[in-house]
Symmetry: C2
């Protein structure tokens, strides 16, 4: 019997899912162990030229009420109407695989609970790191580890901009304009540039690894819009690349601390070499020490690859995969205050500053150095004020 | 009901499996969805001081005949008696998870067939790349892709030696001695240094990705023992790192070409930054473009992490995972001759050589350059002979 799939949304990712499915249908069916076909594509627009024109519908109920459809790919983006559609599908026992990070970050706990109640699955590999397998490795391959920290470059747009600043000495505004021209950044780039996109992704990772839903509003998030060229250049001299790092760690108090901030990454760390639109995720555990997953974090076929990987898993699994889920959080008391973030820190201070006992780099825009001791964010802020610091960032 | 496990072998990896299991028992049981315990540890030696002394047995039949034992971790290494033991376990329907690359490379097809016939699993995540999740991502997460090439740094010992040659200008023999002192290389380093270990691992990857068993004897394998310092230095000037790369690709003829050779990796490729004992695997597919998996390729707890991840999967899966298997090969006619290996090539030639039209680097030991066109290995060999080349290597 052939398994029937529906694809919600025919934008970049949704059309990629259909394209990649038909390109590799034979081997996909071999991996799934059954024949498969796309029965519906949901979109409000018309696509009369599409080779799959006969599959399009504008009515979600066609999909919901068709019992033949057992697996759904949600590629619409945004919380609504995606949430209502996904919820309805899961309530009918149809598994859903999504690329929608906003949906998972805001409503993941609710949707996972509904999936479990209806013996189906809510999968979201594509919501973090695009093509990079990270969700499944975290809860399956690394299941024997006590994972205490995850840190990643989770936004391709900002990594492209920072790479241009570094490689071509291009100021932020110019690099952003180039990213927009190349289609890597939206017309309104706020979600990428201010770190909101990376924040949603670290929320999903935090929830999965530590077992309780972390909402974006609980996460201290600072983007790259005030990262200056002189700091990127000074960091280089000090042996580091500046990256927008989204991370989460377990603190000494047993709480967790998710945070998104421009961060210095040592050239000794393989993540410093992750450039352009590529993403990477470092996972630290007591068995593995440190593992990194790297690849294209966005784009039509890379994201479609992750969605389809999930669809194949959903077809194979007749029961809920309970290891890939988390509980709702009653409050955010399990989240540590960002003031407690412990790190070495990069500082740029005025020439006349008193900075004894550190190797400092004097340049046109001040004196740059990295602290020789770890400080909390609160302590770093106090130090920054005392020294009238021109810039300061944590070091990974 | 508690699932009972047996661990075959109490060497580095086997003892790591027991240690990591008891360290993280609670969360491992949560991931597996059931209580678990180690009932037997098989080793011919005595471990009277071990906290698990009561679990040791010298008689494999204790394990084989105990119906309570449903999942076995094989960490003995070598083909025999591992093959006989694993075969017997699978025939009784006991799933086996192994770290034994020699066993998988030589007997994988046979053991996978027996597992399928007895509705259990033969898992081997730990046999390639140590802690790095690569086997499961290849056949699950990337299942929607047509994978046409995999290339990796699959041996930590040789990568450590090449890193020392590069970073510290240390000749091969001295770097090997240091690796032996640090416990990274065996007293007889042949298996690592001559590429046999990397060869076994690329055989396993080739078999999984392309579906037919590839034997080590079918793979052209060249180690690093004649890589010279001057070539490592010249490659650097030309923008490349020298790495022992094990790769497999589908060729234009539809055959596959697995090969192990010292290879130049461009600094633009994130794999060039993989240093010391770390391993990395690049996977190329039509959906993902390129993805990299990075981590510790060997060692007690990293390898134990991978074995235990498999044990947890084996406990969760009540049926054979058919996507993680391959067929026996009647002959090696599906393997392309290494003479057809197409690549750009690095050459070092004597001073008086006629080399027009390439950017060449003159140094104390000759002239180094990279070809401007791809050549087959056969063509490169002919060119090397014509130019009386002092060294030549492919470029990834």
């Amino acid at each position: 019997m052939s398994v029937k799939i529906a694809v919600l949304g025919h934008g970049v990712v949704g059309s990629g899912v259909v394209e990649l499915f038909y390109k590799n249908k034979k081997s996909i069916e071999k991996h799934a162990g059954t024949e498969m076909d796309v029965k519906y594509i949901l979109d409000l627009r018309d696509f009369p030229e599409s080779p799959y024109a006969d599959k399009f519908t504008k009515d979600f109920n066609d999909i919901l009420n068709d019992e033949e459809v057992t697996s759904v790919a949600e590629c619409m983006g945004g919380v609504e109407p995606a949430f209502t559609f996904v919820k309805s599908c899961l309530e009918r026992g149809k598994s859903v695989s999504t690329s929608n990070k906003e949906l998972v970050a805001e409503k993941g706990d609710i949707l996972l609970k509904i999936a479990a109640e209806h013996n189906c699955n809510f999968f979201f590999e594509a919501s973090v790191g695009g093509a990079i397998p990270i969700i499944r490795p975290l809860h399956r391959c690394l299941a024997a580890n006590d994972i205490d920290k995850v840190a990643g470059i989770l936004n391709g747009t900002t990594n492209f901009i920072l790479t241009k600043m570094y490689n071509d000495n291009m100021p932020f505004a110019e690099a952003l304009r180039l990213a927009q021209e190349l289609g890597y950044a939206e017309k309104d780039p706020t979600a990428d540039v201010e770190g909101h996109d990376a924040c949603r992704k670290i929320c999903i990772i935090s929830s999965l690894v530590f077992g309780k839903h972390v909402y974006p509003k609980s996460v201290y998030t600072k983007g790259i819009s005030d990262v200056e060229l002189c700091d990127v250049a000074a960091a280089d001299v000090l042996g580091h690349a500046v990256k927008l790092v989204a991370s989460v760690r377990r603190t000494e108090s047993g709480k967790i601390l998710p945070v998104v901030m421009p961060t210095l990454v040592s050239y000794d760390n393989v993540m410093a070499g992750v450039n352009d639109v590529f993403n990477a995720v470092l996972v630290y555990g007591d068995g593995i020490d440190c593992t990194m997953f790297y690849g294209r974090g966005a784009g039509k076929l890379p994201t479609a690859s992750a969605v389809l990987g999930d669809v194949i898993e959903a077809v194979k699994h007749k029961v809920t995969v309970f290891s890939q889920s988390w509980e709702s959080a009653e409050d955010d008391s399990f989240i540590e205050s960002v003031d407690e973030l412990k790190s070495f820190w990069y500082f740029r201070v005025p020439y006349d500053s008193e900075i004894d006992g550190v190797e400092a780099y004097n340049h046109d825009d001040g004196i740059s150095f990295i602290t020789t001791q770890e400080l909390t964010f609160a302590e770093a802020k106090a130090k920054a004020e005392k020294l009238s610091a021109l810039a300061y960032m944590p070091v990974l």
